[in-house]
């Protein structure tokens, strides 16, 4: 009896020791493999914010995607003191896409709208802001990010980044209305149809569908108009002042790139690393 207990304790002790040291042994033996898989992830994690700070948010400089990447430059200088032009652009956009006009803030649907500086650029100081900044609203729309968080969170791939154009598009057929994308989007660019939108549409565009209750919608950079060789509706609406410049950000000869080279531009929430495709001159 005594002898057996002694034996049992010995075995238990050795087993416990082996069990405790096993993770350490595994870690030691497989360290090269682990290290190699960890390093790029870590590096990317550190690089993203650094890049965003260093390049003042011009994510395009280190864009992961090649090929066409459509973007927009909004020259706010041409829209200061002209809320009528901003409303005109919004009206054109909303008309073309059968966007309902719902007054109620909770239910409203927005593709293109305007908001005060501190709401559009919360990362930029609005302390002692200039008169122009304080008095004017700024045009806001989907940023068609190069790293769109809405696409990452969509469980049905209803929203996706179109590889041919860089547009963050939506397939309303697939949207299940979970609103993850609205949580994911740091710009509030997405609206949810809490109710049937049709009664709130003044007049229908025959070439575009409406949406139904329970889907999310947002700006699509006028993909359907681009296919016909037309400009986005907002660009066309305020053509007279040329406040919107639309084009391929990856093409060094495009008008938008030349304009970006000329002037200092800012983007919305650059530190998030979403790499927006919409630029502002303020």
């Amino acid at each position: 009896m005594d002898k057996q207990r002694r034996k049992f304790l010995k075995i238990a002790g050795v087993t416990a020791l082996a069990g405790l040291s096993a993770p350490a042994v595994i870690k030691l033996t497989s360290s090269p493999a682990l290290a190699s898989s960890e390093t790029p992830g870590e590096a990317a994690g550190h690089a993203a914010p650094a890049e965003a700070h260093g390049a003042e948010g011009h994510g395009a400089e280190q864009a992961a995607h090649t090929g066409v990447r459509l973007g927009m430059l909004i020259d706010m200088r041409k829209l200061y003191g002209r809320p009528d032009l901003m409303d005109k652009a919004t009206a054109a956009c909303h008309k073309v896409h059968n966007v309902p006009h719902i007054e109620n803030k909770k239910n409203e649907i927005k593709w293109l709208w305007h908001a005060p500086f501190e709401n559009v650029f919360p990362e930029h100081s609005s302390y002692h802001e200039s008169k122009v900044t304080a008095e004017n609203d700024f045009m806001v729309l989907c940023n068609h990010c190069d790293e769109p968080p809405c696409v990452r969170v969509c469980p049905t791939k209803a929203t996706f980044r179109d590889e041919k154009t860089g547009i963050v598009a939506m397939d309303f057929h697939r949207c299940i209305g979970c609103r993850f994308c609205m949580m994911g989007c740091p710009y509030g660019a997405r609206s949810f149809n809490w109710m049937d939108p049709r009664p709130y549409i003044k007049e229908y565009n025959a070439d575009f569908p409406t949406r139904m209750r329970g889907v999310v919608e947002k700006c699509n950079f006028c993909g359907e108009r681009l296919a016909l060789g037309q400009e986005p509706a907002c660009v066309e609406a305020v053509k007279e002042v040329g406040a919107f410049v639309f084009g391929d950000l990856n093409d060094p000869n495009s008008e938008i790139r030349q304009r970006l080279d000329q002037d200092h531009t800012i983007q919305r929430k650059p530190s998030l690393g979403t790499k927006p495709s919409v630029f502002y001159i303020v």
Partner: protein, 133 residues
């Protein structure tokens, strides 16, 4: 056989009741094969042959949807020199301008409820708030 006079009529009634759906539909107009209205504009040609459209228009619509939305392939389909833009509203309803007499006639008969019209506009709905420019 005991109770012959109850069993035989009872069996007859049972058979009648069991086969009720068959003979009821045979004599009612529910069994009439629907005749969808041809395009009021008199168009004789579609993007594909009639049997093909009848059997698999839904497949084609899904393919168009995926082409337009997923692959950015919005190039119009050209059949015998006529261009059709890919889209329910942009192609189909241009000729088949009466959804109630064309689409619905078969869909109701077959008891299928496609959700196209939750978002897509029928010519009738479109006419209620027609764009005027």
């Amino acid at each position: 056989m005991y109770n012959k006079r109850f069993i035989i009529p009872g069996l007859a009634i049972l058979v009648l009741i069991v086969t009720f759906p068959l003979w009821f539909n045979a004599f009612s107009k529910a069994s009439a094969v629907p005749k969808p209205e041809l395009p009021p504009g008199g168009e004789k040609q579609c993007v594909a042959s009639i049997p093909e459209m009848r059997a698999s228009h839904m497949v084609m619509l899904n393919e168009w949807r995926d082409a337009v939305l997923r692959d950015e392939d919005r190039v119009a389909v050209t059949v015998n020199g006529k261009e059709y833009r890919k889209g329910l509203q942009m192609a189909c309803m241009q000729c088949h301008s009466n959804k109630e007499k064309f689409c619905d006639s078969c869909h109701e008969y077959a008891s299928v409820k496609p959700y196209c019209w939750d978002c897509h506009l029928t010519p009738a709905v479109l006419a209620t708030k027609k764009e005027t420019h």
